[in-house]
């Protein structure tokens, strides 16, 4: 992963060494295709980033979980011997409601808290609507334009009478899409729910997306794939310009020189990909899809304690927080052996926008105030405080994923979503029919792009 000069040519160049790009390259290498991965930053993993902070303690600043239906991620972990363990999920979750009261719960919310039943009923309707979407051809849906013309905020205002249920739905949208309900259309919400296999898959732990974690961090699989690819991965080579050549193939211009290829896979974060110049210009639909699909806004904060003290109080460490403070959701992110206590706090969307303008001291005080209100005074005195503000990441430009604005699925989805533009192929979790927005979707997208190319090479 340290080659300084680029070779003059590769059969396939992959732009971006996140899970999408690495998986595309791996699938191509498995078919003996000559492939080179160009990564702009100085590491692999993209929006997955594990940091070893203290001895054996690893924290995941980015994507971190894997669920039982995320079979591609699990298969990659198994192939490269990366161990997983169950997310700590014993005891009660805690909910700090807008009234300042902290209530224990399991499932969708506390039985004695406002709005839970109406929230569950609304989620059921979302599931029913989502189930009607064909994941392989989402824009064929007869209600595409109707559902894509209304924001989730308008839809919830129109269909959910219970104000407290609306608050709950807003946090769900913030937590899953890292945007406000006003930022995405009903259609995008439904597509995303469908691609995960249902609303609960997105929200829950056991049997769902948050079921397991990686012993050595979620980046460990990416590092293992990159190790397997060896010097086929070049770091520190940002791609500036991709030129489709008249005689076939592409010229890829990087800050480290140029390289020719028969095919290129753009697997960079959408926030980076939109800044690459293409010659000739991309078809309007692909270009507008990219321009109108901005990254979400999330920050993750890890607080480290000598022990997961909340467990002794009968708490799972999972919590939700409403109100004015920044934190929306908390999980127990302690190591498997419980040798330290780690909480991860998520700050989303509007609350992230406000919080990110504070000084580091103010940001820390804001997060610790919420943790103290939920878990008591001990939570306010961590041994370590670590934050990762994804909108400020120079390569990802945000997280978790990019979300098409209202109207974009209707206007540009049919051809702009992921159809190859000649020798230019598109990967990235946002182009996946399954687990869109997740690592598993990234892997699926890389495999799909690789299959496009191997099919073309054989023809």
């Amino acid at each position: 992963m340290t080659r300084v000069t680029l070779p003059p040519k590769a059969t396939v160049v992959v732009v971006g060494a996140g899970y999408a790009g690495l998986s595309a390259a791996l699938a191509l290498l498995d078919e003996d295709v000559d492939v080179l991965v160009l990564e702009g930053s100085d590491r692999v993993g993209g929006r997955v980033l594990s940091e070893q902070v203290d001895g054996d303690l690893v924290v995941d600043h980015g994507g971190q979980w894997v669920g039982p239906t995320q079979t591609r991620f699990l298969a990659a972990a198994e192939r490269f011997g990366c161990a997983t363990f169950p997310t700590y999920n014993s005891g009660d979750h805690l909910e700090l409601w807008a009234d300042g009261v902290c209530r224990p719960f399991r499932g969708a919310g506390p039985d004695d808290a406002p709005g839970v039943d109406a929230y569950v009923a609304a989620a059921d309707v979302i599931d029913e609507m989502a189930a009607t979407i064909d994941l392989d051809d989402p824009t064929a849906h007869p209600r595409l334009a109707e559902w894509d013309s209304e924001t989730v905020q308008s839809y919830v205002d129109r269909t959910v009478a219970d104000e407290d249920a609306r608050l709950r739905l807003a946090l769900a949208v913030q937590g899953v899409w890292t945007v406000e309900p006003r930022d995405i259309s009903v259609f995008h919400l439904l597509f995303y729910v469908a691609s995960a296999g249902g609303f609960d898959q997105l929200m829950e732990t056991e049997g769902c997306a948050q079921e397991r974690r990686f012993t050595a961090g979620a980046q460990s699989v990416a590092l293992a794939i990159a190790g397997h690819l060896g010097d086929r991965v070049v770091l520190g080579a940002p791609v500036r310009h991709v030129e489709t050549l008249d005689g076939g193939g592409v010229r890829v211009d990087t800050e480290r020189g140029e390289i020719l290829a028969d095919h290129v896979v753009i697997a960079a974060s959408p926030g980076a990909a939109v800044r690459i110049r293409f010659t000739p210009p991309l078809p309007q639909s692909r270009n507008r899809w990219m321009e109108r699909t901005p990254m979400g806004d999330v920050a993750k904060i890890h607080t480290v304690y000598d022990t997961p003290f909340w467990r002794a109080d009968g708490h799972s460490g999972e919590a939700t927080a409403y109100g004015d403070n920044a934190v929306g959701v908390v999980f127990d992110n302690s190591p498997d052996d419980g040798s330290a206590g780690v909480l991860v706090s998520f700050v989303y969307a509007d609350r992230q926008h406000r919080w990110a303008t504070l000084s580091e001291q103010e940001r820390r005080a804001d997060v610790l105030a919420t943790l103290t209100a939920i878990f008591g005074a001990r939570a306010g005195n961590p041994l370590q405080y670590l934050e990762k503000i994804w909108p400020d990441d120079a390569w990802a430009h945000g997280g978790y994923a990019a979300n098409p604005a209202p109207g974009v699925w209707t206007e540009h989805g049919a051809t702009g979503w992921r159809a190859a533009c000649g020798p230019v192929h598109w990967a990235g979790t946002e182009t996946s029919s399954v687990w869109n927005g997740y690592v598993d979707g990234a892997i699926a997208s890389g495999q799909r792009a690789a299959a496009e190319i191997t099919t073309a090479l054989r023809s």
Copy 2:
């Protein structure tokens, strides 16, 4: 305008030689400030582009009109001696309705056509709501989040019962914003209406935005300003990277070398500006504002005839077209002396997306079919057919203007709209309180950015 090597330093660098950038530079030069304009393309004018096609005949492929309240544009024209003349506005307009019937009209629509009264009533409500917005501080509006959370499509579906009136409102949105009603929020629509001084100002000719045209084309004023600026305008110098320096000032990196400056004004089209790299990264709000404010989609087609034959039939040449064909709006764009007949046809948004994927022959046939249906067989046999597809323009990336997606005003308007980021100042019509989206707004924005800088230089 041909200097090959950049000077090492200027007090102010302006990026982009459209009306915003040229006006900023002109205002600075008027104050004896040392300024240099860097333009990526090989011409000035930005989204205003006049072409001399045949002897004296000039067609305007981009912005072309000036209205009586657009005092900045009129003042610039007067200063540089650029003549204007009234848009031809005698006789009846024609409306090709969805039922295939072509009806004459003046004002909002034919008296005997469906939906006109309800359309006018809806426009009145829009005017009333728009009048409550403070143009200097739009995000202070108490209903900002409410109006910015709903798409115009949802709002119209909810408030306008008459289906035909909804069709009329959709064409109005397409014609003014070059997007579909699902793409923008109610708040953005209202702000834009307010910034123009009312709905009729946007839609009408006499006394309104389409009142007058430029004898030598609307680019003539830009060319005159550029001539006045002389070798302070450098063409063919695309800016790639703007670095704010620790010691103050900026380093501007172009494909033609770098230049230092105390201040920089980014006056490029939003579609180009979003692709410039900034070090350190821009504040989240400015960055997200830019990323989530995509360009609209419009194409302009000129058809040239030996004479404005429609005038003899008692027609103004202005027409609106509903239905499946591409053209939405037509105007008489003949030269002042009537020495030739010229019609300009506008193709917007979704219809532009479909039309732009056709072959040139199919695009021409589609446009001529509509013109024939409106103006008769003679319209189908032009001497010349000229098209400009703005989304494919490598520098503008679309037109007329860029429109914030739903939620963007709420989340990022207060600081992301136009507040300077240290020595980095923002111009462009999208940053204007008045005539946002128009040449007049571009000029206002350049003058405002220049004033920011002269104030800073004096302090």
